[in-house]
Each structure stands twice: as structure tokens, then as C-alpha cells.
Amino acid sequence: MVAATTLIDSAEPAFEHLFLDEYGRVVSVAFRITRDAAEAEDVAQDVFARFARSGQTNFDRARAWLYPATVHIALNALRARRRRSAREHREFALRRSTEDYAQRATDPQSILERSDDAALLRTALLRIPSRDAEILALRYGGFSYREIAETLGIDAAQIGTRLARAERALKREIERETSR
């Protein structure tokens, strides 16, 4: 294993090159999941920091590491956000009377928040299989079929099938959420 500092010292030009080349797309892929630009940048920083610490020396295969890691870390960020929200909601609910709570449930702002596309998408992405979330984030993050195939190490001919399945699953989850 190579320490992060060692990697930075010994392979800084390669790391810098990789960073400058891929950072924008890493942010874009992360944004498909987080729907929050600042959070997407945080995810990207985390991804590159982990890459540096991972001691990887084969920069030619870096993209196959970076983008799955981006999706993984972004989904984890969503999970953390959801848990925070749930905790805050619980604490909030405990402090409110049943009447207040009922009133809040029909509050237009609450309904608006529930129907917010970003929130719906985040919820759905955590419910569909992570491999579906992965291919959706890559495709709508700007990857071509060939690039997705190279990144995920699968045949390009399979991408359409997986993408169609993922889009179907996403739509189903969002419809289920909005019908509640």
C-alpha cells in the first residue's frame, strides 16, 4: 500500500492530471444522486481523497475505480441525510401535539416538499438496486454507452437492457412514492 502523501509526492503529476480531467464528471455523476451541488462537490473531494489514499498506482484504470466509488459515496451521503431527517422528524414530532402533527401533515408546504422532484429522486435511488442507481447516475451524468461499459467492465450491448430496467424501476418507485 502507498500512503496518500507518498502518492501525492511521487505521482503528483499523474494525480493532478487525473483530478483535473475527471473532477467535473465526478461532480456531475454525484449531482445526479445528491441533487445538491455543494454536496456533490463534497462527494467528489471524498472520492479523490480516498483514491489517493488507496495507494492505486495504475492510473489507466482509475476511472473504473472513481465512478463506482462516486456512486457508492453519494448514495451513502443520501442515507446519512435520510437518517438525519428521520431523527429530526422524530424529535420534532415528539414535541408537537397530535393536533399539530395532523395539521402539519396537511400543510401545503409539507405536501410541496414531499412532491419535490429532488426529494422523490433521492428516495427512489435508495430504494432501487444500487447497480440500477449506478447506471442511471453514469448515463445521466454524461457517459456514453461505451464509457459506461468500460467503467463498469461490462459489454456495451448490455447497457441498454440495464438502463431500461433501471429507468423502469426508478419510475415505479417514484410513482409509488407520489401515490402515498
Binding site: I8, E16, F19, H72, L170
Partner: protein, 368 residues
Amino acid sequence: MKHLDSGELRRMLDEPQAFSDQARLHAATCEQCRARAAIVAADAAHAARIFAGEVSADAGEAYLRARDFVAAPRGITRWYRPLAAAALAAAFVLGLLFTPLGGYGRSFLTIFEPRQFQPIEVSRADLQDLHLLPQADDVGIQRVVRKPVRQSYDSITAAQRRTGFAVLGPTVLPAHFGVVRSFFTMAPGEMTFTFSAAKARAFERRSHKSLPPMPRALDGTTVRLQTGYVFNGHYEATTSQAAHPQTTHKRSRGTEFFELIEAQSPHVTSTGASLDTLERYLLAMPNVSPQLAAQIRALGDIQNTVPVPVVIDKQTARRVTVNGAQGLAIGDNTGLGAGVMWEKNGMIYVVAGPLSMNDVMAVANGLR
């Protein structure tokens, strides 16, 4: 021509040039394919709408931030050392806190002997909340009856003479390992903790925090923790950096290592209140989340189960077979660190470090 499948129809939306003229013509004229293409297109349009949005990022500025962050001093140990000591930490701390909590309230005197490890998912928020729990001294009296003494040795053989049990040594080491290593033993220790309602009330007055009322039967109950001999082997890789004293600073952050722990199973005994009472009281503490409490309650064989916290978005856990025993493997999500723990013949074993899971498992399975 045969009909196009949904994958082909989907790709045709994005990359029609990837298909032959014949396939495109078929897709445009075949009613069956067109009907299915309409469904696929509707799903794709829905996804495109909901994923739409641009985000701009200044890679140059971000690189400077990333470089500072990556190069910042940071302990390489992270959670590996705590994990390496998990057999102790889990048994000593969680064991003390939670083990008497399960449905083992039938006997007056309870004995805890770990036989298996059970992952408990905790969030970072859970961990932060647990730090807000009252300290042990706030609700009772701790007493170290016998403090474990640590001693270092040059060889496993010498350490083994001290522990009295057969220490297993690794027969398989990851590449570059083998020369830099050190061995330690811990002598048996004993600690007691006695619950005190008076102290709990004093804490409430002092801190203006509310604790669950301590049941009368719990007031005065003593929990006793006894540990046996512990062996700890610390193995480091021999790197080129390690050979150069001037790079000591880097080596402290960059050296690969792993910890091997072999410990006689600790025992926890309890007198006074039933363990059901203990469970209700401790899990009612503020800052113990309902999810965490539910997981603790759901542990099956609590008398023999060590709950091992697994941070949800940082670590993963899976059951493994190690040296013929059932164990629990914990991995860092990034693949940068791993650990495995198991119990066999009254001994607890842990191998952990900033290595891949494969390396850790190879070391663990190679212990002889």
C-alpha cells in the same frame, strides 16, 4: 427480422447509429416493437426530466483543496486499531454495557462468555449520541480491582510462556511483511461497577438532564468484568521508507501493518437486579436511538454474543468461516481496511489492519 428487445430499443433512443439500417427500419415499422419502444421512451423521458440539471465545478480550485486535504496529517490507524482491539473493546465496553441486557434475566448470577460476534448497525449520529450518554461514574461507582499489566516480548515463544496458552502465529503474511513486528501480552484484569441511584440523581441535578428512574432492584447491583491473558502481535511491512530513518514522519502515516489479538474470553457476572431490569434501564437512557435499542433487544443468544458496532456508511459486515470457526468480517467501504474476529475453544481472535479483506483473511486462515 426478429423483434428488438427492450435494451436495443433503449439504446436506439440514444445511439441509433449503433444499429444497422435494417434494424432501424424494423423498429420504425414493426407495431409490436413500436409499442414497446413507446414504453421504454416514456421511462427514459421521465428519467431524463428528473435527472436534468447542470452543475459547474472549478477543478483547479478543487484540486488545491483536495491536495491539502489528502496531504493533511491523519492517523493511518483510523478504526483499525480499535477494530483490532474489538475483542477487548466489544467485550469490555459493549459487553459491560449491553451484554447483561438481553433476555437472560432468569438467573440471579449472570455469566457472559463471548462465543460469537453479531454486527449492529450504527450511524455516525448514533455514535455521536452515545458520546452524550452519562459516564459510568455518573450512575455508579467503578473500581479497578486488578489492573491489566502490559509487557513486550521479542518473540511469540517468549510471549506464550507468559500467557500460558498456545499462541497462534501467522504462517501467511501479505507481501513485504515479516520483519518489523512486536509482541505484547496483557495480564488478567478485573473491574467492578456498582449502580447507584443516588449518583444518578446527583447527575440529573448537576447536568439538568433526565435519566430513566433507576429501579430499586438495580440500585446497588454490581457487574464484574474479569479478563484473561491477552496476546497482541503487531506486524508491519518492511518498506523502503521504513529502512530510512529520515522518513520516519512519513512512515508513521504510511506503513502497512496489521494487529493480531488472541485473548482468553472475558467473563461478566452480575449480582442484584435481573438482567431484564438492566436492559430496560440502560436502553431507556437518553441518546440511545430506538433503532439501536431494537437491535440490542433482537440479539438472540445474548449471553454469548458480542455486539460489534458497524458504521452504516463506513463499514460492511459479513459472516465468514475462519479456521473452521464462524467469524465476523468487517470491511471499510473503500477497501482500505479490514478486520475479522472469531471465537474458538474459549479464545477470541482478531486480525485487523489497513489491508485488503483478502490479505486479512489469508493471515487469519493461516494462523497455526
